[in-house]
């Protein structure tokens, strides 16, 4: 059987269909192979409340199609998305000026997912991300100066300069990483959710709201990885308070989602494990927020996990090293037109929640915050040589006993030395 070829037209047909409203089934638009029975009607791009999925409602209620926000909510969401966007733009600038190094993966375009989900969380709730983690950190409340300093590799970074772009952690904000290998954060998130259930059931420690919730963010490429499936199973088995948030931006570096995935509809994989699977327009922060609310509340009530697939897009390449030559201009411009920040701005203005100049002043404020973060990072010192051996072990006795019978770490000059054991 001849291999299917995915031309741009075949690929973009469903994409174009999505922008118009009802999304055409991916297979029906291509003549790849004959179907023996009609393809199931796909979920529309309107947000579906999780309860709709559970109750089998095929038609999304009208209200869910146009979720609303109060002025305060809308401005909070706007500010958070603008922070994410301006921060990432500054990262690109700083990278090309030689202030940050290595692999840097920017989040431009995906802000609605981070903001839509994370602004609903409490401090005690956890976020686990991937290497595309700067904006998750910011949404969770990690100060921009700490993130920027970490990116510059300075001692004042949130991880003392030891982690870098792909390893953002913050214990006070319950940001549990920052992971370089895709998929490896999902079990960690599952463990954090397990700990929340354990605290409640074994240690009898209960929060006033219910269980602490963990959000695991990851991409479309990760959804073909074993750890994803293993954790869907375990999370549902034990009804863990976790939400699996798929940021489906259609590309894993240069691998298009449809070229890598036998059934590209990721949300369908939730019900296969017994949990609700929801598809939502990830370019619309209010829709994301609506779905997120229900998924998080479900988890908090102890009803278990939800798989949320957010259709989103990254405006930049996979990383700053990616020439981004495979993605077609039509696709890029299609999503650029759905910029989540522009969409929310339009909504705010049209609903008279705030004026243009108020939004401008938020943008100016964020400009200043980001500038200040850069200044802070610039002025901060690099880590001293003595920092090298700190934090290898929580208990430095792990470096062992030297020939003189004393623990190596007892030597005050130990950290100037080497780690050989």
């Amino acid at each position: 059987m001849a291999a299917a070829s995915f031309t741009a037209a075949k690929f973009l047909a469903p994409v174009a269909a999505r922008s118009g409203g009802d999304r055409a089934p991916l297979h029906a638009s291509s003549s790849l192979w004959p179907r023996t029975k009609p393809a199931p009607r796909l979920r529309t791009r309107k947000a579906l409340a999780v309860s709709d999925v559970l109750s089998g409602n095929k038609a999304a209620p009208a209200a869910a199609a146009h979720p609303s926000a109060t002025r305060d909510e809308a401005l909070e969401l706007y500010e958070d998305m603008v922070l994410g966007r301006f921060f990432e733009d500054m990262c690109a600038q700083m990278y090309y000026r030689g202030k940050m190094f290595g692999f840097v993966h920017l989040y431009n375009g995906q802000e609605a997912v981070s903001t839509g989900f994370i602004k609903l969380l409490n401090q005690a709730d956890c976020v686990v991300s991937t290497y595309r983690d700067h904006v998750h950190a910011l949404s969770k409340g990690v100060p921009p100066r700490s993130v920027m300093a970490e990116l510059f590799g300075k001692a004042t970074g949130c991880c003392r300069g030891q982690g870098g772009s792909m390893h953002m952690f913050s214990a006070p904000h319950n940001l549990l990483g920052g992971f370089a290998f895709i998929g490896e954060g999902i079990p960690v998130a599952t463990g954090a959710a397990f700990a929340a259930k354990y605290r409640h059931e074994v240690l009898k420690e209960s929060g006033p709201d219910g269980l602490d919730v963990t959000l695991a963010f990851f991409g479309d490429g990760t959804c073909n990885n074993g750890q994803f499936f293993e954790c869907l199973n375990m999370a549902q088995l034990w009804k863990l308070p976790i939400v699996f948030v798929v940021e489906n931006n259609l590309w894993a570096i240069g691998m298009s989602h449809v070229r890598a995935t036998s059934d590209p509809e990721i949300w369908k994989k939730g019900p296969a494990f017994g949990m609700p699977g929801v598809h939502v327009d990830g370019m619309d922060v209010l829709k994301v927020r609506e779905v997120a609310k229900e998924a998080i509340e479900r988890a908090r009530r102890g009803e278990g996990p939800t798989l949320v697939e957010c259709e989103t897009y990254r405006f930049r390449g996979h990383s700053l090293a990616d020439p981004d030559e495979l993605r077609k201009p039509d696709e890029k411009s299609h999503y650029a037109a759905r910029d989540p920040i522009a969409a929310l701005k339009k909504y705010i203005i049209e609903q008279n929640l705030a004026t243009e100049s108020e939004l401008k002043s938020i943008e100016k404020k964020i400009d200043d915050v980001v500038e200040e973060a850069v200044e802070f990072a610039d002025a901060s010192p690099l880590p001293p040589r003595s920092q090298l051996l700190e934090n290898v072990f929580s208990d430095p006795k792990g470096f062992g006993i030297g020939s003189d019978g004393k623990y190596r770490c007892e030597d005050p000059l130990f950290t100037q030395g080497t780690a050989q054991v």
Binding site: S394, G400, G405
Partner: protein, 399 residues
């Protein structure tokens, strides 16, 4: 996955040779607890050994026949190695409600090697969690749970299965405390039976200590007696570092009398098994018994080997090892790892770096052959180091 019954054929050997420091041939069995009571007394003064108390004093040599006989408070109780591990688990789980166990068949089945027998009934299904067959993910779950304040013990039904968890063990257990700038600790214990058994086939006969030893941020210990099994398990659970505890498939039914009082063993220390003058033999886990069997032969031939069970595979206890080398000037390493890249290779390297001037002969290292462990019995026997080879090696070194 097939469950191998731990052979008790070593039991006879162990019973005859047992004792921390007890010169087995000259002391009656009942003297065995005496040497141990040195540690017991130390433990009774505080939690754990002097080191663990933060005293960090220079380590007193735990020699044979320590004069602490009077400090032994009671006769002790006899049990098998897997029961000693179990006892440690029960004690720690009772003392600290954040201690929990994850693994395949650890709960209702009681553990493939019965280490967790009865624990699920005692502590519940959440504290003794029967996991699906997903090593990488449940090990990672252990990491996440540890980051959020629990103290999980992750069991690999066979250590070899943890190859599937290498991603999590290397990247997260080992590195996460560092990459987070010290914000999150991972007080996890990863344990399970490994080593060459009785015709278990290549995949069930692996020595993962070779593969894990490069991972920064990890500690590795290997238990070999009921006494040190219990002590190391407790120490590993209490440690704030991720610790890999290597048990051996063939040692679970070793029987020994251990103290009734609470004690722990120091994770970073080696164990003096038999003091001697002519040659330092460094070994660990099952090979300790092959060495002690060879020692009987060697003693009859007039040799006086000093046998040290290194116990701490990472980091090495350079104090105990060094003191021995300074005395004997000759070193033989006997390990079960394959020749290439094993613990022996690193140990040899470390000895050369630190004690070169004290050596009168090249360091000899006896390792398993670089072959997948064959199923056929004579081939399997030829894969690992046998006592006759150890005797021949000592004769060669001591020429």
């Amino acid at each position: 996955m097939p469950m191998a019954t731990a052979s008790s054929s070593l039991h006879g050997t162990a019973a005859a040779l047992h004792g921390v420091g007890a010169a087995a041939s000259s002391k009656p069995r009942s003297a065995a607890p005496v040497a141990r009571s040195v540690r017991v007394a130390a433990a009774a003064r505080g939690s754990g050994s002097a080191r663990a108390r933060g005293g960090m004093v220079a380590r007193a040599a735990v020699a044979a026949n320590a004069v602490a006989a009077a400090e032994s408070k009671s006769g002790g109780h006899e049990l098998l190695l897997f029961e000693a591990l179990r006892e440690a688990l029960i004690e720690e789980m009772k003392a600290d409600p954040t201690v929990c166990v994850f693994g395949e068949d650890v709960g209702h089945y009681g553990g493939s090697y019965k280490v967790t027998k009865g624990l699920a009934e005692m502590f519940g299904d959440l504290r003794v969690l029967d996991t699906p067959i997903a090593e990488n993910s449940f090990t990672g779950m252990g990491v996440g749970a540890a980051m959020k304040g629990l103290r999980p013990i992750v069991e690999g039904m066979n250590m070899g299965f943890l190859l599937l968890a290498y991603n999590q063990i290397s990247n997260n257990c080992g590195m996460l405390h560092y990459t987070s700038g010290g914000q999150f600790k991972i007080p996890i214990v990863i344990r399970g039976p490994g080593g060459v058994g009785r015709q278990l086939g290549a995949e069930h006969s692996q020595r993962l200590e070779s593969y894990f030893q490069s991972i920064p941020g990890l500690q590795m210990v290997a238990c070999s007696t009921p006494y040190n099994a219990k002590g190391l398990m407790k120490a590993a659970i209490r440690s704030e570092n991720p610790v890999v505890l290597f048990e051996h498939v063939l040692l679970y039914n070793l029987k020994e009398k251990i103290p009734d009082e609470e004690y722990i063993c120091c994770l970073e220390e080696a164990e003096m098994v038999r003091p001697g003058e002519h040659v330092t033999i460094l070994t660990y886990s099952r090979m300790r018994y092959h060495v002690m069997q060879a020692a009987k032969t060697l003693v009859n031939k007039g040799y006086d080997p000093e046998v040290i069970d290194i116990r701490s595979l990472k980091p090495f206890d350079l104090h105990t090892i060094g003191n021995s080398i300074k005395k004997t000037h000759r070193v033989l390493i006997v390990e079960e790892c394959m020749r290439t890249g094993g613990i022996g290779a690193s140990l040899r390297s470390s000895i050369i770096d630190n004690f070169w001037d004290y050596l009168d002969a090249p360091i000899m290292c006896l390792s398993s052959q670089d072959v997948p462990t064959p199923y056929a019995a004579p081939l399997e026997d030829a894969t690992v180091v046998q006592p006759a080879q150890i005797v021949a090696a000592v004769e060669q070194i001591c020429q």
